[in-house]
Amino acid sequence: MLNYLGLIPLFPLIGFLILVASQGNMPRRWVPWIGAGSVGLSAVLAALVGIEFLSGSLEPYRQTLWTWMRVGHFASGFSLYLDALSLNMMFVVTGVGFLIHVYSVGFMADDAGYARFFAYMNLFVFAMLVLVLADNLVLLYLGWEGVGLCSYLLIGFWYENPENGAAARKAFVMTRVGDTAMAIGLFLLFARLGTLDIQALLNRASAAWPVGSGMAALAALLLLGGAVGKSAQLPLQTWLPDAMAGPTPISALIHAATMVTAGVYLIARTHTLFELAPAVLQLVAAVGAVTLLIAGFTALTQRDIKRILAYSTISQIGYMFLALGVTAFSSAIFHLTTHAYFKALLFLAAGAVIHSYHHEHDIFRMGGLRKRLPIAFWSFVIGSAALTALPFTSGYFSKHEILASAFHAENGFWFWAAGTLGALLTGIYSFRLVFIAFFGPENERASEHLGFAMSVPLILLGALALLGGFVSMPLGSVFPRSEPGELGLIAGIFTDLAPLVGVGIAVLLYLLRTYPVEALTETRWGDMLHRFWFSGWGFDWLYGKLLVNPFRWLAAVNSSDIADDIYRGIAAASQYAHRAFAATQTGQLRWYVAAFTGGTVLAIALGILS
């Protein structure tokens, strides 16, 4: 069974090729069977492969499909690597991915670009599977760039609106910054260690570099650059909220469940390298802690239902980075998995609201949707409960592990405190959304007509979000075993109570309106803070002032470009050379013979002179 591993990424690729080859001429009713069916086949096969792998010895399984090229010491192969970590990722990508594909069958049913949508989605799943199954960093990078490309294509899916195109470009350029760092990191690793095969590379790294060596830190830092770009962490986080311009299933699949967590996967995959650089690990944890707080505060103030979820995604990935930073790798992956369940659920439920409510995004124009949209409402309640980490939901187990591990790490108190404060914030902003959108007076009429294709994935994801915490992958076979220690009484109480307190605050502020929040935001300082948080802590403004405007200024000043002159010069020189050489092509035989003889004389002269 295991040797069918190579087929798992193949099915979505075939689906993509069929959909592209049909050039939009395929009958509409066939599209979902190919688009969602291919991913469904992958999911079934992944389940079968997974069962066999888990019932075995958990030894990593390698499959070399073929060697692309081997020249000198450089060999690059299409080879796959399956261990508990990549299996976990594969389950998430194919399982959650399949549910989202099924949901899209209903959600996108009226869209003109139906086939195009599924073609991109299939290509994305293929690239993501290549990313998580790759045995060497070249192949991983192929998948990494592939998902970036699909993300670009899908954010700008409704390209008629220029704003969507701008959002797509922003996402592409911002992640490119990180990817460049990562590419340099790969070159460095290859130059120093002579291989890009992940396992061999990690072995050689730990043999060649002592703990704390500068080279290990540099390499880890460069990889971290790629990871923060892809996973929308500080300082490259600003693209993710804008990426919500894409269709909602895309936000669920790419910008919540899978692609944005690729950075977490990358660090977990190369954790040996990061463990050689404790300072970088501290940085990872700090990035995570700061990001989760900033994004949490920002989420408190947003009005757009999808932007709230986007900031909460950034915040939750912050938790994963925090966990990675305190070497609780399996907790990070556990949280990644549960987050995929409940965040996909929340996005799909948000999609259901938007779908039923005339494409309305502003939660303050909603209200009282509880009765009219029961499936969406209960999905939101379950999803928010898991997001807030209320006891016994899936999010509770994973977040608790992270906070417990953080508490015992170096500088752990501060990380723990940040995480706990973040949990409090999570409670407030999640239930603020639920109370404002679903409770209160009914503003406008909305009717739920979700159909089979959209409601079944919601129900299944709801079950996963509730119960997914009871199942976890035996990640101990991949990572050094680290038991999350006991929190102790006081810290434990704080940790468990923080989300509940958050929910309580939300109840008081937004449901019962005992203390109306306007009283806070209408004071001078409150208003300033509100606007500051609403703008995402001014990062877009800052980057605009710091980078974009100087660049535009430079471009304007230099509009008849100095650099262009070089290229124009090259072009002119080439054309000149072309004309000069073309003049020798007279078509006259006597000139040809003369030139031939002249060339011979020159060659002989060279022979005599030497």
Binding site: W66, T67, W68, M69, R70, V71, G72, S574, Q575, A577, H578, R579, F581, A582, T584, Q585, G587, L589, W591, Y592, V593, A595, F596, T597, G598, G599, T600, L602, A603, I604, L606, G607, I608, S610
Partner: protein
């Protein structure tokens, strides 16, 4: 003394000669285009089948003239396959045109025979014989459409210049012989470093440079490519140039002339100017056949990296790089000329860039094949051309030939411009909907599909091909033992 085993080892050449005789007799008895074509195709296929049969007998020196080894056999397969493609293209091309068509196959067979002899040549005599068998066949092939003035002009040009080159070649051989007293490559080993034989060697290289259309012996290329019928141009671009290159590497390695400093400097210089001049010439050209002609000058320059690097990296890697690049070059060049052939209506050839405007909309399949062939010629990854270039790069960087690699990069950059220009032309909106030609060239489309698969196959999964190509070029010891 020639033994039975020797004859067996020569089977690919013997069978091909027999086929040529049979085709000739068949034409004499019953003039029929289809019959001649089918006999030729069957004959080449049978000759191809004999190659794996004899591959166990090699390497084998048969008289001092011919050395059959893996290196020769691999190229023989490539040349015969290219001949097969050319024959199919000729069938499609000449079937809709007037005049006697049958002899073209006879001439293709003799050209292939010449190429086969060149690939196995081990001696100046077989070198010259093979080259002349090939060249004389080509004179006739180029000027085959007797009533077309351009074809005749191209034929005359090639004939006269070839005559000059052959004169240089013979004189060069005579000089080398006068100095060393031998005409066997292997026996020359290490000796051609003295004065008259260096001049002789240079004259030999000049003749080779002419056949390979290297700068400054390149002026004929565009006129002949343009004037010859498109399928014949395909044959000229692949089989003729490939076999001469195969010979050049063997001659250079066995006789040790690459180790003579002035020779390697000369080759490097020729390589650099060929890469640059060829690509510059193609830059603003509007005739597709001329573009391909000029680009072939550049490609021959790239290929020269392999022999120049051979001193440092050794014969095996150089031979491997050469064969991989040639295989890729054969596939993409044949595909490109195949498209030109299929595109050509009965009364003229589709050679102007304007003929290809909007091809993606009118004939998407041909446009796809042409684009892939052009991108492969440009060396885009996942095509055969990339793997070929990668090999040359590997050989060149191991040999530390930075000048050559610099020129290779510049040449490739220039190449991208004019290759992509054709692709752009094909992607533009068509001017007017042209009527499709009535004849459905099924055979040509089949051949194009196979070539497309080869270009992708070599680009995506080259390992098995490269294993097959593994040349194991012979080392001169063997013949030294015979002395």
């Amino acid at each position: 003394m020639i033994t039975t085993t020797d004859l067996l080892a020569l089977l690919p050449l013997i069978v091909l000669s027999a086929v040529a005789v049979i085709v000739m007799l068949a034409i004499a008895v019953h003039r029929n285009h289809r019959l001649a074509f089918l006999l030729t195709v069957a004959g080449i296929l049978i000759s191809l089948i004999t190659v794996p049969l004899v591959s166990d007998l090699v390497p084998r020196l048969i008289t001092p003239l011919v050395l059959v080894d893996r290196y020769a056999l691999v190229f023989t397969v490539m040349a015969y396959a290219a001949g097969l493609v050319a024959a199919v293209l000729c069938w499609e091309y000449f079937r809709v045109r007037e005049g006697h068509q049958e002899e073209v196959y006879l001439l293709i067979l003799t050209a292939l025979l010449g190429a086969g002899v060149l690939a196995a040549a081990h001696h100046f005599a077989s070198f010259f014989l093979g080259l002349e068998i090939l060249s004389v066949s080509l004179f006739a092939l180029i000027a085959y459409p007797l009533r077309e003035i351009r074809a005749l002009e191209a034929g005359i040009k090639y004939l006269v210049l070839s005559g000059v080159a052959s004169a240089f070649l013979l004189f060069g051989m005579a000089l080398v012989y006068a100095e060393t007293g031998t005409m066997e490559f292997a026996v020359l080993g290490g000796r051609p470093g003295t004065f008259p034989s260096v001049i002789g060697t240079i004259l030999i290289l000049v003749a080779v440079g002419f056949k390979l259309s290297l700068v400054p012996f390149h002026l004929w290329t565009a006129d002949v490519y343009q004037g010859a019928p498109a399928p014949i141009t395909a044959l000229l671009a692949t089989v003729s140039k490939g076999s001469v290159f195969i010979l050049l590497l063997r001659y250079g390695l066995e006789s040790g002339v690459f180790r003579v400093p002035v020779v390697s400097v000369l080759l490097a210089l020729i390589a650099v100017v060929s890469m640059l001049v060829g690509n510059f010439l193609a830059l603003r050209q509007n005739n597709v056949k001329r573009i391909l002609a000029y680009s072939s000058i550049g490609h021959m320059g790239y290929l020269l990296v392999a022999p120049v690097a051979a001193n440092v990296v050794g014969g095996n890697l150089a031979a491997e790089a050469l064969l991989v690049y040639l295989a890729a070059y054969f596939a993409m060049t044949l595909a490109a000329f195949g498209v030109v052939t299929v595109m050509s209506p009965a009364d003229r050839e589709a050679e102007e860039l304007d003929d290809y405007t909007g091809l993606f909309w009118t004939r998407p399949w041909l446009a796809t094949v042409f684009s892939v062939a052009l991108l492969s010629l440009a060396g885009i990854p996942l095509t055969a051309g990339f793997i070929g270039k990668f090999y040359l790069f590997a050989a060149g960087s191991q040999g530390a030939l930075w000048m050559l690699l610099g020129a290779l990069i510049i040449g490739s950059g220039l190449g991208l411009y004019y290759y992509i220009r054709i692709v752009f032309q094909m992607a533009q909106a068509p001017a007017a909907l042209q009527a499709r030609p009535e004849a459905r060239p099924v055979g040509a489309h089949l051949v194009l599909a196979i070539l497309l698969l080869l270009i992708f196959g070599l680009g995506v999964y080259p390992a098995p091909f490269i294993d097959l190509l593994h040349p194991e070029i012979n080392v001169p010891k063997q013949s030294a033992a015979q002395q």
